[in-house]
């Protein structure tokens, strides 16, 4: 079985898991956590393509997420456009801004690219805070309508959760397809060596830009889902810390694996909720868990699973031989 088929099977399993998950939960609050996890996972899948496969870092993805959220919020709540149109405009806005930002910044490498995207993230954050007339400033933007499909407003939280999970499935499907294609090979090639990729004829500038824009579109989709879910947004949700958190999700989950990154997103979104019980030392425990994870799982959750599987396989084989 080739890897793409295997991945499709994995996707089917993930979707089945996401479908039954709400039924296993004790209260509605956990459903909110699950929904937010799915929204985060959508961005993280895009970031995994950018960081894990193409090897380009971005510390500004919180900004794309926020741009889409605010664009959709302003268009629907202030200007009264249908939510569908507002959402579409939000996603496109993230994509167009990524295109404009990507052309000059993707010439940079490593730390410099990190700095440039960080600067972009900070500027967007400041705009959210200062353009009070448009965004409501630091106190936030209220009164965003809930998402409606074909005139039917999606009122139930469960329905919204399934919508987000469906979007996540779609986004993963596109990503898996991309990785398995000629474009995916080109991205991994430029990750390994830009010079060698150029030498075999890959237009590296174009591919870097394309994957950057795609990941921004993913972040935009997540931003729209977020805004119309909570119906309230504030700049604090889209700041630098959030961008870093996204990177941590990718790294903790496993850079080279889409499913690993998704697991990272769910794990890191849900973890603080379970640590609430420890009250004062919550943040401390959160940090400690991250450190322990990275010490024992240097290749992330996905790498850990692979290592365990390989060990079991060897043991089974050893037992068979004996």
């Amino acid at each position: 079985m080739d890897s793409f088929r295997k991945n499709l099977l994995g996707l089917a399993a993930l979707m089945a898991l996401l479908a039954v998950a709400p039924l296993l939960l004790g209260n509605d609050y956990y459903l909110t956590v699950l929904t937010l996890s799915a929204i985060n996972a959508i961005i993280v899948v895009g970031l995994n393509l950018l960081l894990g496969h193409a090897g380009q870092i971005s510390l500004g993805h919180g900004a794309f997420y926020g741009l889409a959220a605010y664009t959709s919020a302003i268009l629907t709540a202030t200007l009264g456009l249908p939510v569908f149109l507002g959402g579409l405009a939000g996603v496109l806005c993230a994509g167009v801004v990524a295109l404009a930002i990507g052309i000059p910044t993707l010439k940079l490498h490593g730390h410099y690219l990190a700095m440039a995207t960080l600067g972009f993230g900070l500027i967007v954050y400041i705009v959210f805070n200062e353009a009070v007339g448009l965004t409501g400033g630091p106190s936030g933007f209220t009164g965003i309508p809930r998402l409606s499909l074909a005139g039917m407003e999606l009122t139930s939280d469960l329905g919204y959760y399934y919508l987000c999970a469906g979007c996540l499935g779609l986004v993963i499907l596109v990503a898996l397809n991309l990785i398995d294609s000629r474009t995916g090979r080109a991205l991994r090639a430029l990750h390994t060596s830009e010079k060698a990729a150029q030498a075999v004829g890959v237009d590296i500038a174009r591919y870097k830009l394309a994957v950057f824009v795609l990941s921004a579109l993913y972040a935009g989709l997540a931003g729209v889902l977020y805004a119309h879910y909570l119906t309230f947004i504030a700049p604090a949700s889209f700041g630098f810390l959030y961008s870093v958190e996204l990177i941590v999700m990718v790294v903790l989950g496993g850079m080279s694996s889409i499913f690993g990154s998704v697991a990272g997103a769910f794990f890191l979104t849900a973890l603080p909720e379970f640590l609430r019980a420890f009250e004062n030392i919550e943040i401390l425990l959160f940090g400690a868990i991250l450190i322990v994870c990275m010490i024992f799982l240097p290749e992330g959750l996905a790498g850990g699973v692979r290592a365990v599987r390989a060990r079991l396989f060897r043991r089974a084989k050893g037992a068979g031989d004996a």
């Binding site: 000629r182 090979r185 390994t192 060698a196 990729a197 150029q198 030498a199 075999v200 004829g201 080279s256």
Partner: protein, 242 residues
């Protein structure tokens, strides 16, 4: 087939190639030799478009390619085997070869590409045995074969080879060089070869250029260069005064 005219290359304020002119005729193997920092790799990168020259021109098969992008140059039939091999280490051998055919991708090319990959496996059987292995796990010599195979996948007319002997045992180097010669016979390939290992390079080459601090200081038939006293002293490790 390939002509460089008065090429100057600068890295910031440092000049790495000074007024270099050279030419390669169809079917030739031409060696470019010289010590460390002579500008050999710089020249190859200039030809394949990875570096832009500050002045001068590069013509390939009658067309001026001085300002062309690297991907366009590859598509025109000029492949570069970079220094240090630069195989895509985490990717499988098969994926590395597929990436080599990147510039040829068109609808319906799939079968031709498959056939070319198996031709590469025939040429380098060890690559066929290891097709699903990550390229980074190959030995140095195997990686060099893969790097050459990857370049061949673009169906080049001219192959630029940058130090294929780097870090390889002498018998492996001989093996690689034998392959280079047979490529010319079987595919009619023209080769521009950069080497520090001047003796081996000149043995298989028709003509040679000697580069020193960015200038061509000597050129001629390979046999003449091999016999030249200055070349022998400087690059062939023979101390004539002793």
């Amino acid at each position: 087939m390939l002509t460089l005219k008065n090429v100057d290359v600068h890295y910031g304020r440092i000049q790495a190639a000074k007024r270099v002119s050279l030419h390669v005729d169809p079917g030739e193997i031409v060696a470019l030799i010289g010590g460390n920092g002579a500008g050999k790799t710089t020249l190859l990168c200039t030809i394949s478009g990875l570096i832009r020259p500050s002045t001068g021109s590069v013509t390939f098969a009658g067309a001026d390619i001085t300002r062309h992008s690297p991907e366009r140059i590859v598509a025109q039939g000029l492949s570069h085997v970079p220094e240090g091999r630069l195989v895509f280490a985490p990717l499988s051998v098969a994926d590395n070869l597929l990436l080599g055919s990147y510039s040829r991708h068109k609808f319906g090319q799939g079968q031709a590409i498959e056939a070319d990959i198996s031709a590469i496996y025939d040429m380098f059987p060890v690559l066929g045995e290891r097709r699903n292995q990550p390229a980074g796990t190959l030995s140095g010599g195997e990686q060099q074969m893969l790097s050459i195979g990857r370049a061949l996948m673009a169906k080049p007319r001219l192959l630029l080879l940058d130090e294929p002997s780097m870090g390889l045992a002498p018998n492996i180097t001989r093996d690689i060089f034998r392959h280079v010669v047979s490529l010319r016979e079987s595919l009619g390939l023209t080769v521009l070869l950069v080497e520090q290992n001047a003796r081996s390079a000149l043995k298989i080459a028709d003509r040679g250029y000697v580069l020193e601090t960015g200038r061509v200081i000597l050129q001629g038939q390979a046999a003449e260069l091999l016999a030249n006293r200055d070349v022998q002293r400087a690059y062939l490790g023979r101390d004539l005064d002793a």
